[in-house]
Each structure stands twice: as structure tokens, then as C-alpha cells.
């Protein structure tokens, strides 16, 4: 079977059913055995007449990033779709409404913008939908029908997904959608019979391990449940809200609760209260909410109370760009808040890692008795990947509380100075271990104390504990042929997929290039990173923030300045931009 690697976009105005259409493509293609990675972009306003775009990369090999160029554009609104023209590949296929409800002047039409090489499929979506179902509501499905027919995708693949999606909405809605789809499919077969392409025949991988489509947010929610989450406290904020909604749907049946608090401060406060009493709890937020939480996060550090906090980053500062992606909360996550307050920060780079790092966060929080911050980002939270249903082993999920031995009754010291920095933690209800936890500096028994020696000792203890957590944190993963490298590319979060794609392409072109993925942001594996850096002539760190926050954190390890590649476009990092920089650095190095 030939290599399939196609990027399909659906573009329309808010309300056109754009996101729904994109979702159906993802499901149908996943069922067909293809790999799928999809990411939508939509306006912050519900019906702000803004542009909605879904992008799905579909292929029969593993997909790690979105591609820059779009091969197939399905336009539900030409005015909006015109903005997508610069992103089209050569010979792209364009599906558009040849008789839209609102007349579009020729010089304002999508077609007038297009490269003459583009392959056009103009069909009257509106008319076809109305003729088949008596309403234009299924117009997006009609467009999908045309697309499926021309691309050679089996219609039953789509029909099955449509039935799955709409059967709960009643027979009428289901039939409207099915008829609209079928009518589009038949129209395209009839009118474009000589232009059918067999791109999306069912992949030969169908019948392989069953895959599910999961977003990063869904993976985080599922992971929290699998890890034994009992209480979720949160406040709605884009892009973290879907985590709360996922949990609200699934947690109560398992005996847990989702409580929407009055703000993010209350959310983290309740999480700390819950963990103090010994119950696994979590909150999820984005930059503005995270900023509000920082004081209580440092209380967790000081009083040594576990907490799991998801920060789904978005564009900042302040309210910033609520529906755009950015990686600009790394400094806030690692350093945010008053005082020397070391905490654990992890950052998954794909949907499967969102799952596993969330599960891991619960164990780390309990064992090290400290807040654990998981940094996701809009592109990671809202991207959809198809993957085998992630699962955690019993040992990954098991409790990791360090409880005091019975022999300590009567002489128990909650904050005992130990070599590891970890002191046994008693839980309220345990007899013989009564103590007070406080955000004031305190002695080993928990009594407030501001003496110089004590503050030194306790600060050291808290730092020693976090440094020790490195042993339980995954080491950076290297993607290279080993040995000396001209360029080493280091990255984190959603950008790493783009880095991997660029590095793979560069290596295929014969360049001595490697990638290093860092998922343990703090503490980080300094010696592993140093060993990698020492083998590279140049270190490149691409990030979706302006100053290079990871570069600021780890750049000092390198013997010379690291090369930063920063973008704040609100969009995922394009692999081509990284590849270009890699090639430039290799070229300069060879001169």
C-alpha cells in the first residue's frame, strides 16, 4: 500500500458545523485503520462570526505532528476559507459550495484566490442538502459526502460514525444527517466520476490493535480516574474545562465527586484540604487561574501537603489569547509564588504521555508530599490522536503515602529531618500522631519557628526532597543515531512532536542531528542533558514563548550559548520552521 500522509482541513464560520465535520472525518479515518492527529482552532466567542478550522493529518504511518501544508480543504464558508489559501500545498484539492446561500462576489470568492494548479470540486452543498433532507442543517455532512466520494473512502465508514454520533439525538436528526451525507456522496460520484481518487481506501492496518480517539484533556481525565481520583475541585477556564466536564460525566458513578468552586484559589485550597485528610484530589486550570493558585501551591510546599495541578497553558499574559496555544507558563510553574518553593513540574508531549504523566503525578505528589504541576498546553489538550486505549498498571496506580510507624506514637515528628527529606506523614483520624501543619516556617514537630538555623535546615530539607524525586522521574528521551551530532534539538510539551518530525526529516536527508525530549521539567536530569549537549556542536531549543523559558532553565548546562527559536503566534510550532533552522545551523557549522 502506498504511503498515505494527507492533511485535511474543514473551514467555516462559527455555527457552520465545521468542528463536527472535522470530528467525523477523524473518527471515520481512525476506524479505517489510519493514524490520525487533529487540532481545531476556533474563536473565543461562542457565536462571534469567527473562523473555525479543523486540521486532521491522516496517514498509515505513526504521526507525531501536524504538517504545515494542507492537501485537502473543505470550505463551508468561502470568506473564512480564503484565509487558509497560503497554507495550501501544491495541487491541493478544494471542496467548496458552488451555490452558497449568500452570494459571494467573484473577486471575493475562494476560487479567485487559489493557485491555478488547485484541483477544484465545486458542488451546491446547500441545494443538495435541502433536496435530500428538506433542510440546510446537514450541509456540512453533504460536504463530507462529496469529500468521501472523491477521496475513495468507503461510505459505510462514515455512515457508521454518523449513526454512532447522532443516534442519541433522535431519529429525525440522524436521518437528516445520513440523507445529507448520502446525497453529497451520490452527487459527487455522479458528477465527478472521472475524477475519483483512491486516497483513503481502508488502510491495511485495519484490524490491528483497536485504537480510540482521545484528546489530551480526555486522556488527563481518564488517567485521573484510573489513578483513583476521588475529588475534583475546579473553576471553568479555557482550555482546561473539558477535564472538569469529562470528570463530571464519569467520576460520580465511581463514587467520586466534582465540585465547581467559586474560583481557582478555592479550588487549590480544597485540593490541599482533601490531600491533608488523605484523599486523592486534583484541579485543572490555565495561566490566569494558575497565577491565582500560586500562593496556596507554595503553602503545599511549605506544609508538605500533596496536590495535583494541571496547567493547560494558553496564550498570555493576563487573559491573553484564551483559545490559542503557547508554552509560556514554564517559569510560573517552576518558580511562581513567594519564597524558595521547590515543587515537581512535568510536561507530557503527546496524548499517551498526558495519560501516563497524570497517573504518575498522583504517586509523586503523595510520596514527596508536595504539589505536582503538570504542564499541558492548548495544542496538547485539544489535539486528538488515535491510540490504543491507554492503561496504567497496578503499580503505577498504587498509593504511595509514607505513613508513620506505630512505634513513633507519642514521639512523632511530622517534619523530621531525614536524609531523603521525606518525613512520614500522618493523616487526621490516625491516633497518636496529632500535629499541626502550617505555612509558617516550623520546627520538626510543626511548631512555628523563625530561628536562622531552623529555616536553613528546613529549606534544605524541602529542596533535598525535591532533588531526590529525580529518581522517580523519567529521564530525557533521545532520538538520534548516537555519537557526535552537528545539531541537538531539545524541546518539551506539544512542540516536541514538531521537533521530532523536523529531526526525522533532517536525518533522512543525511544530517547529523538528534532530538532530546524533556518531560521532567523540575527537577530535571542535569547530567543526562549535559552528556547530550556535550555531544552536540549546537543546541537548538524551539519553544512557543518569547524568551525561551526552557532555554533559561537548562541553557546554563551547555558550554556555550544555546540557540533559541521562539514563536508566539498562538499556533502549533510548524516542523518546517525547525527544519529550516536545523539546516541553517548545520550549514553554518560546516563553513
Amino acid at each position: 500500500m502506498p504511503v498515505v500522509d494527507v492533511t485535511v482541513e474543514v473551514c467555516g464560520m462559527a455555527g457552520d458545523g465545521t468542528i463536527a465535520a472535522g470530528g467525523l472525518i477523524n473518527e471515520a479515518m481512525s476506524d479505517g485503520g489510519f493514524s490520525v492527529l487533529a487540532f481545531d482552532s476556533y474563536p473565543a466567542e461562542i457565536r462571534g462570526f469567527g473562523r473555525c478550522v479543523t486540521r486532521s493529518r491522516i496517514g498509515n504511518e505513526e504521526i507525531v505532528a501536524l504538517e504545515d501544508k494542507t492537501h485537502v480543504l473543505i470550505s463551508l464558508n468561502d470568506e473564512q476559507a480564503r484565509s487558509r489559501v497560503p497554507f495550501l500545498s501544491e495541487n491541493s484539492m478544494i471542496f467548496f459550495d458552488s451555490n452558497p446561500a449568500v452570494y459571494v462576489r467573484e473577486d471575493k470568492s475562494l476560487v479567485s484566490e487559489l493557485d491555478p494548479e488547485a484541483i477544484l470540486f465545486g458542488m451546491p452543498f446547500n441545494d443538495i442538502a435541502t433536496a435530500s433532507a428538506g433542510t440546510t442543517r446537514g450541509r456540512n455532512l453533504t460536504a463530507l459526502g462529496c469529500f468521501a466520494a472523491i477521496c475513495g473512502a468507503p461510505p459505510d465508514l462514515f455512515r457508521a460514525v454518523i449513526i454512532r454520533k447522532f443516534k442519541s439525538k433522535g431519529e429525525k436528526v440522524l436521518q437528516t444527517n445520513l440523507r445529507s451525507f448520502d446525497a453529497g456522496f451520490d452527487y459527487a460520484l455522479e458528477n465527478f466520476s472521472n475524477r475519483i481518487k483512491s486516497i483513503f481506501l481502508i488502510s491495511d492496518k485495519v484490524g490491528g490493535p483497536k485504537k480510540v480517539l482521545l484528546s489530551g484533556n480526555q486522556a488527563i481525565g481518564k488517567a485521573a480516574i484510573d489513578a483513583g481520583l476521588k475529588l475534583y475541585f475546579g473553576y471553568p477556564i479555557t482550555p482546561a474545562t473539558p477535564i472538569m466536564e469529562y470528570l463530571a460525566t464519569h467520576l460520580p458513578a465511581l463514587g467520586g465527586r466534582v465540585i465547581q468552586m467559586e474560583d481557582e484559589i478555592a479550588s487549590i485550597g480544597a485540593v490541599l484540604g482533601s490531600y491533608y485528610a488523605g484523599t486523592r484530589a486534583m484541579t485543572a486550570t490555565s495561566g490566569p487561574g494558575f497565577a491565582l493558585m500560586t500562593e496556596l501551591i507554595t503553602h503545599g510546599v511549605m506544609a508538605e501537603i500533596p496536590a495535583v495541578i494541571i496547567n493547560a497553558q494558553r496564550g498570555g499574559p493576563s487573559t491573553g489569547l484564551p483559545t490559542k496555544t503557547e508554552q509560556s507558563d514554564l517559569h510560573a510553574a517552576v518558580f511562581g509564588g513567594p519564597g524558595d518553593s521547590p515543587r515537581i513540574v512535568v510536561a507530557p508531549s503527546n496524548v499517551a504521555e498526558c495519560y501516563h504523566y497524570t497517573v504518575k503525578s498522583f504517586q509523586l505528589a503523595e510520596k514527596y508530599q508536595t504539589p505536582v504541576i503538570l504542564l499541558a498546553d492548548f495544542y496538547l489538550d485539544n489535539r486528538v490522536e488515535n491510540l490504543p486505549m491507554p492503561e496504567a498498571s497496578e503499580s503505577e496506580k498504587s498509593g504511595s503515602n509514607v505513613l508513620p510507624e506505630n512505634s513513633l506514637k507519642g514521639s512523632y515528628r511530622r517534619y523530621e529531618i531525614t536524609e531523603s527529606g521525606i518525613s512520614p506523614r500522618a493523616l487526621p483520624g490516625m491516633e497518636g500522631f496529632i500535629f499541626s501543619a502550617t505555612g509558617l516556617e516550623h520546627t520538626q514537630t510543626g511548631v512555628p519557628d523563625y530561628s536562622p538555623e531552623n529555616h536553613m535546615l528546613m529549606t534544605e530539607k524541602r529542596h533535598r526532597k525535591i532533588t531526590g524525586a529525580l529518581g522517580d522521574l523519567p529521564s530525557p528521551e533521545e532520538f538520534s543515531s548516537g555519537g557526535k551530532l552537528d545539531v541537538g534539538v531539545i524541546g518539551w510539551g506539544s512542540t516536541f512532536g514538531s521537533i521530532l518530525e523536523a529531526v526525522t526529516t533532517a536525518r533522512n536527508r543525511g544530517l547529523l542531528v538528534g532530538g532530546l525530549k524533556i518531560t521532567s521539567i523540575f527537577p530535571f536530569h542535569e547530567s543526562v542533558i549535559r552528556a547530550f549537549m556535550n555531544r552536540c556542536s549546537e543546541i537548538l531549543i524551539p519553544e512557543l514563548n518569547y524568551v525561551g523559558q526552557l532555554a533559561n532553565l537548562i541553557g546554563y548546562i551547555h558550554s556555550k550559548d544555546v540557540v533559541r527559536l521562539n514563536r508566539v503566534t498562538g499556533t502549533p510550532f510548524p516542523p518546517s520552521a525547525i527544519l529550516e533552522k536545523i539546516e541553517y545551523l548545520v550549514q553554518v557549522g560546516n563553513e
Binding site: 478555592a266 485528610a277 487526621p428
Partner: protein, 269 residues
């Protein structure tokens, strides 16, 4: 003749024998001599003892301020949080382990200023937390600035010309927010505090105890002991705490009547 040391030792022995240190920790309270918080604290300790609560099943959550220190002086589990966040943290503790008896403790600054946004929500969720709001109408720990319940015209280093903001009435707010148990009390009467706390702990929902008290160090004019003793008086005999409308009337008409103002009776346990 007994030496001074012997008198002290005997005194300490007598106090220990009395059982006070079963519940009182040996840490010396950080409050000024004459502070109203001693009385409130005594009421709280007596309540825990009289109810026979196992000390390891009691959690006191507190905020920042003089009131916030209470938990260090009581032998129960304690969680001294940050400024203003007592109620959400207490919500977490109680929801996580409903078998615990949870007290939340804080002052008027903690509960009405920085943490003022949490009171309505803990009240409407009706979380079974017992909240003691120590109201001395002043910021004591930061040395005498006006609080949200200070009277108009209060002069301090931070308000040399006198405050112009109107004071908040915590009891009225609690009723308005839908708190299911509202008591107003006086720090000079630890026995009443103890009795009200016992009833509040047994009440299956959120209970707030708005306690008038005095800052002897920084307030020489307004809520002094002399004034409070003059102003405070018990609720009339015929007050019906199950009647919300009557509770509102009482609180609007009379700022200083103390007792159990309101108690919702229709809550499922």
C-alpha cells in the same frame, strides 16, 4: 514559707490534674493578656471535651491573623493555611473525610476582607464545617489597621483621618448567603460559646459563629471590654431560631443581641 517556684510548680500541677492539658497544648498562646481570644478558645476546647470527640478525629483549619494561631494551642489535628482561604481548605478536609469534625477559625480580616468571597459559597454548599469568625473589628497582628467591620471614623496609623467605609455585618451576611446555622456570640461568655458550638457541631450543615471580641492592645475606643459588656445582651426569650424572617428582623434591628439566631431544621442528615 513557700518559695515562688514552689507556688508556680504547684499551680502547674493543679492545672494539669484538672485535665485542661488533655485538650490544651502546652504551647504558650501568642495572644496579649486580656485578649478576647482566650475566651473563645476556652469555649472551643470545652466543646470538644464535652462532646467527647476523639481529638485525633478533630481538625481545626485556620487562616492568618491572631485568630489563626488558635490551632497551635489545642491538641487536635490542625491546618494553618494562608490568609483568607480557611473555608475552601476546610471544605476539602470535610469532603475528603466526612468522619472528621472540622472547625474553621479566622478573624474579621481573614473572613470578611481577603476571604470574603468564600463565605457565600461554603454557605450555599452547606458543607458541614463549623466556622468561628473572631470579630474584633481590627487587624491586630499587623498592629491596628481598620478591618471590614470597623466603625466609620475609626482612626489608626493607616487611617489618620478616620475610615469612611461602612462596616460589614457578618451575621447579616451569613443569613443572606443562606447559612443553615447562624449564631452570634460574645467572647466574654465562654460558656455560651461552648453551648452554641455544641449545638452547631451537631447541626448537619454549615454553622457560623460570629463572635464579638475585643483587641485590648490596639482598640482603646470602640470594641473595648467595657463597651462590649454594655452593648451585648441575650436574644429575647421568645426568639424562634427556626424562623428566618424573624432572624433577619432581629439582626437588622439589634446589632448586639447574642445567641442562636437561625437554625434550619429541614436538613437531611
Amino acid at each position: 514559707m513557700k518559695t515562688k517556684g514552689k507556688v508556680l510548680r504547684e499551680g502547674v500541677h493543679r492545672i494539669k490534674e484538672s485535665g485542661v492539658f488533655d485538650i490544651r497544648s502546652e504551647a504558650l498562646p501568642t495572644w496579649c493578656p486580656g485578649c478576647g481570644y482566650f475566651g473563645i478558645h476556652q469555649g472551643l476546647n470545652n466543646c470538644i471535651q464535652k462532646l467527647g470527640l476523639a481529638h485525633h478525629k478533630v481538625v481545626i483549619v485556620s487562616g492568618i491573623g491572631c485568630a489563626g494561631r488558635s490551632l497551635f494551642f489545642t491538641r487536635t489535628y490542625g491546618l494553618h493555611t494562608v490568609h483568607g482561604r480557611t473555608l475552601p481548605v476546610a471544605t476539602g478536609v470535610k469532603t475528603a473525610n466526612p468522619e472528621l469534625t472540622v472547625f474553621a477559625v479566622g478573624g474579621d480580616g481573614d473572613g470578611l476582607a481577603i476571604g470574603g468571597g468564600h463565605l457565600p459559597h461554603v454557605a450555599r454548599r452547606n458543607v458541614n464545617v463549623n466556622y468561628l469568625l473572631f470579630d474584633n473589628s481590627i487587624y491586630g497582628l499587623t498592629k491596628g489597621q481598620p478591618s471590614p467591620s470597623s466603625p466609620v471614623g475609626m482612626k489608626s496609623k493607616a487611617s489618620p483621618s478616620g475610615t469612611i467605609d461602612k462596616p460589614l455585618n457578618a451575621t447579616l451576611l451569613a443569613l443572606t448567603y443562606g447559612a443553615s446555622f447562624v449564631a452570634r456570640l460574645f467572647a466574654g461568655d465562654p460558656d455560651s460559646i461552648c453551648r452554641a458550638l455544641i449545638e452547631g457541631v451537631q447541626h448537619p450543615g454549615f454553622s457560623i459563629f460570629h463572635i464579638y471580641t475585643s483587641c485590648v492592645t490596639f482598640d482603646k475606643e470602640f470594641k473595648t471590654w467595657a463597651n462590649l459588656k454594655k452593648w451585648v445582651h441575650p436574644l429575647p426569650q421568645d426568639h424562634d431560631p427556626s424562623n428566618l424572617r424573624q432572624a433577619f428582623d432581629r439582626v437588622l434591628d439589634d446589632e448586639f443581641s447574642v445567641g442562636i439566631i437561625y437554625k434550619r431544621t429541614d436538613i437531611d442528615k
